[in-house]
Amino acid sequence: MNTLRIGCGAGYAGDRIEPAVELAREGGLDYLVFECLAERTIAMAQLAHLRDNAAGYDVMLGDRLRAVLPAAVERGTGVITNMGAANPQAATDEVIRIARDLGLARRVATVTGDNVMSYVKAHPTLATDDGRTVGELSERLVSANAYIGAAAIVEALSGGAHVVITGRVADPALFLAPLIHRFGWSEDDWSLLGAGTLAGHLLECAGQVTGGYFADTRRKHVEDLARLGFPLAEVREDGHVVITKVAGSGGRVTAATCKEQLLYEIQDPADYRTPDVVADFSRVSVEEIGSDRVAVRGASGHPRPDQLKVSLGYMDGFIGEGQISYAGPGAVARGRLAIDIVRERLTLAGVPTHELQADLIGVDSLFGRADVHRPEPFEVRVRVAARTATLADARRVGNEVETLYTNGPAGGGGATKSAREVLAIASTFVPRHAVTTAVTFEDVA
């Protein structure tokens, strides 16, 4: 039976590059996928695009493709990535330049159509996931991108593309598309689409299924995380999936690493919604069938949703933050005194903060509940963060922590401060007909 080998060369925009090179050289891959668009990444890229018409795609695209293209071309491995972000055409232009530089003949496809800003602006009554409407965000809205499905990528591959550049695409669809293309899976064969989506879901965070984000010195040992190998899936035409990695690379693929990733960012496992299928992972089973080889079975699916999810980027004020450390006997008490002083200073100075959070890192910064008795740490770090309407007010927050040096409790050290504008994300849903995708091709001879 036909089997396709698909690797994942990046699980987020800043991920390591060497494991992708290792996969391209030694993975025997049919396709190498780079998933580099977190929720907010595309909104930030849209801001960059507004400032500079040639910007707005992943800044690491050049480094990644220069690193993997020679091996990918030599082995006939297709490359699929959402590194086009808010400006896929400019990303394609860079891929073309790189292919020319390297003297590699390639057909590059660009997928567009995920930008639904004009539709969203024309429909202000659309409800957001946080209980507002699109209209309430109107002036502050900077981006609106629909999560599109596999179809446009399949079209690109059918047109002979060796490299496919997209913007916002549902993460698993990047992996599902080559399976549909190669195996001719029907667009309403929900079980197979569910199985392919499971493969994509397990792969999309790269090292998170090969032992990354897994090691715990208490009980979960993972070798060689500095040389962590990224995953590849062997997917059979009948939907059978094996997760593995390049022999000799760091990390491990076990039933346990696959189970953790199976449930990562999943709510109801029987109702995992993508543009292509509502996948059902509730009866999935995993089995170790060899060293670093895990078979994953039992995914199924139901008809795809009628609507597409849209990620909305909007400007959401500013956050100012300051930190300072205290140590030795009484460190916690001096840290709490420092926090009280900063709160009072912001009130005296009339700095309007919409929301303020004060933590003692080492005591209560992750889960709060300061009333719970805990062993006294030898050192603590005070952190005060506040939401403000202006950048000037945000800067005051960090300054009021910094002035603790000469005006606060004894022995404060290592103060830092920052102020930033917040680009927040909400989501909504639009009907499928609101989204029209397009695929264009360019060749480097």
Binding site: D129, K259, F367, R383, L423
Partner: protein, 102 residues
């Protein structure tokens, strides 16, 4: 005995919703974990962290439970003031849950 002695865990986020998996190291422990690590017990354990109900999904085929809950209003990864913006460390406090005598 704490939950982390018998299970491992990973947290993920989608908007203001967080999920935390609890996966038995030994599948033979799953049935007992399912009976004692209930949604109500988890909600009590996450008092002050989870906002509203904790929902539990069971996955006996992989010896795992999946807990889903909302963080405090407005605490999505892109706008929260929290140090751990995603809520990724929540897996660790879940594993710190004390378990009853067996």
């Amino acid at each position: 005995v704490i939950l982390g002695d018998l299970a491992h865990s990973r947290a993920g986020d989608k908007g203001t919703i967080v999920n935390v998996s609890v996966i038995a190291f030994d599948p033979n422990d799953y049935a007992w974990l399912e009976s004692v690590v209930t949604a109500a017990r988890m909600q009590q354990h996450l008092d002050g962290i989870a906002d509203g109900d904790v929902v539990r999904y069971t996955l006996p085929s992989v010896a795992a439970l999946n807990f889903v809950f909302a963080r405090k209003p407005g605490q999505s990864v892109t706008r929260t003031l929290e140090l751990d913006a995603h809520g990724k460390t929540l897996s660790s406090i879940v594993l710190a849950m004390p378990l009853p005598e067996r």
